[in-house]
Symmetry: none
Subunit: 227 residues, 4 copies
DNA sequence: GATGAATGAGTATTCATTCAT
DNA sequence: TATGAATGAATACTCATTCAT
């Protein structure tokens, strides 16, 4: 019995599972946990309702698998960007750009995370919270390194800062359609996403307040230390 | 006490309507449109299911009333803050602080808006979108005035900036419980909210990148104090 | 206390009752017992739901009153036509014409009777059955008098004949809209009703079969008495 | 007996569908559209409520299927009778007898058509109207052929005549229980139906008015016996 | 493993009817 | 007498889940 012949049925089983998962991702992203319909998922997967229960045990089980898959794919995509060795500012720019492009390219991920954060009180799918929590902590470490290296000034709690940046980036894509119609823009266009990312980067690095020419920079910014 | 002056009739349309609306706000905020149960709302309002249909026509009608009420309360709270005549930086600080305190004080509003933005593709409750859209546009005008007055440097599209700030503020409270447990903080504490708001304000006004202070920075920020 | 002042409230009470009854006739005629809505009737009567229960005790009570009123109005209209002293043929013509005009002028009566005959198995409103039954018996007596007077030939059971004629007449108006659209006719037009009545009269009196000229009429019709 | 040849699987879509349809025919015939209860139909079909929606989509869908089935069965039964090549009088007799026996044998059909004609204004189930309308037109053609062949004298509009006959026949069975109790007869007895049909036939062919027999009337009615 | 039929608990909605004023 | 609010039982319809083949 060659391994290839033994693999055939398993292949098809895996494919069924994958089809269901794919259909479920689409459904849960679109309608949320309550709104998604098992019937519709089975139909979209060109499979049978019973199979969902065979492979995933219940609607909740399926939902968990969906969240796990989404988080996993996010991790894979984002890990690389975070690990590059670059000067703090450039690393910041890269991270923000990378994250925003990921969000732009994965609207279903954005929606899944959003639904999940709303339902968090009721269901116990820790996956998403872990992802966000873990990601935020990692970013906080990077930011602290920037401070330690003297590139960044310490404003308040670094973890707050990180959460703020995360909110900015995610927010654009949570309100994607509203903003697109408000701006007459199309966030499928990578150029548009770059421009948006640049706004975030500028804001994070330089802020909004106009300041005098760099020639006479002698004191650190906090004005109350002045007199 | 004559019966005609009795102010608390047991059968009062207004009171019943208000009870139902209150219960519905809680339910829709907690479970979203699909997840909320008419039965539960009627029970929580200590009223009868039928009354919901008398006063609100349908679940969707009730939902619309809830959104309208939420948006209205938000507008009332925010209008004042936006209308004050103050120098741009101070106005910015006030607006951000005011908005964040509003969000901190109205977690149900945060959830309602979040559910709504997810369901926007399916339902046509324009209320929330209008609020956010309108609010963003108003803020954009304010920011542009700041630029015109020479207080702000123009970074990218002002509307992008405004959306970014909105995302920051709202994001904190969308992920409220996650962040609270991550930070060991309690966002019911006004002080904690102030601190968070200050991070946002600092970020918006000054950015993160450390730069030498200008020679003539002798006084606190308000520019109009310089003769 | 003059009778006129004492009558005032009674007048208004009677008027309320009459309004309700009128609205109920319309509603029951249009939608039948199950389909009629108490709410709609109260609204159409520009009165209050409670009044219906005050005056008629229940939906069924109201329905009974409606049937009684309908039957009564029918009796009033039809009694005269039947009591005239005329030769049998003319009386037949008059009766049929009169009945058909009554049906044409009272579509709600037609519908009420039709609903009732369908619901007869379930409700015990004998009124309509009595009317039809009583009317049929009266007609049967008239027909028998015609036979006794030698004007009519006895075909089968006279009661069958009467039921057949009743079915013809009523049937036109039970299928009124279908026939109107099929014929391109308008049964509100008295002329059209007359024409229709003439068909019935001709059929009843002379039948369809063409027969030889009247000159050589020597024997009574029944052919089996011939040889 | 191999399992594959087993003809009575406990789970058979067709059987379930048929059971539901049968139960629905009974229910709609008995109570009409509004009065029929989905719960009761499911119970009577020894099936599950859900199945009704799987097979028929909605109560209205089920009702349509019921009407379609009823009409179809009527058409099958009546088509043959109408297509026979016979002399006009005999064809008339056959048609009337056939139709009346069909009505006597299918009381549910009578009730369904009656409910439908009352509700016609509200629902759009064209089936029944089409049947009656189509049937009437076909009969009208037959009658006109009789006139053309010289067997019938033209009285008024042929279409009126046909509607009248239809009303007679249907009317007997719409008022079935009333007439049965009035006559002390049982219309389940084919003989009784025949007698009733003969009344209709006599009326249609010869009318009621007594007239002297024509000289050459030597033989019983069937004209083809005269050489 | 895969399929389609079946089910029971639940969901929004409606109705006739009855209080309270 | 009249009014408007309230109610509980029912009604059409839906869903996740489980048999039977």
């Amino acid at each position: 019995m060659s391994p290839s012949t033994r693999t055939r049925p398993k292949r098809s089983a895996e494919r069924t599972r994958a089809n269901i998962l794919e259909a479920a991702i689409a459904a849960f992203a679109e309608h949320g946990f309550e709104g998604a319909r098992i019937d519709a998922i089975a139909a979209a997967a060109a499979s049978n309702k019973r199979m969902i229960y065979v492979y995933f045990e219940s609607k909740e089980g399926l939902y968990d698998a969906v969240m796990r898959a989404a988080v996993e794919s996010a991790l894979v995509t984002l890990r690389d960007a975070a690990n590059e060795e670059l000067p703090p500012e450039e690393r910041t720019r890269r991270l923000i750009r990378g994250y925003m492009h990921f969000l732009a390219d994965h609207p279903r991920f954005v929606r899944l995370v959003s639904w999940e954060s709303l339902a968090a009180s009721q269901r116990a799918s820790v996956a998403a919270a872990d992802l966000v929590g873990g990601g935020l902590q990692r970013l906080a470490q990077l930011a602290e390194r920037g401070v330690a290296e003297g590139a960044f000034q310490p404003i308040g709690d670094v973890r707050h800062l990180v959460a703020a940046v995360h909110g900015m980036c995610l927010g654009f894509f949570q309100r994607r359609s509203l903003l697109e119609s408000l701006w007459g823009a199309d966030l499928n266009d990578p150029g548009a996403v770059d421009a948006l990312a640049d706004v975030v980067v500028s804001l994070v690095l330089d802020g909004l307040r106009r300041r005098p020419a760099p020639a006479d920079r002698l004191h650190p910014t906090p004005p109350e230390t002045a007199p």
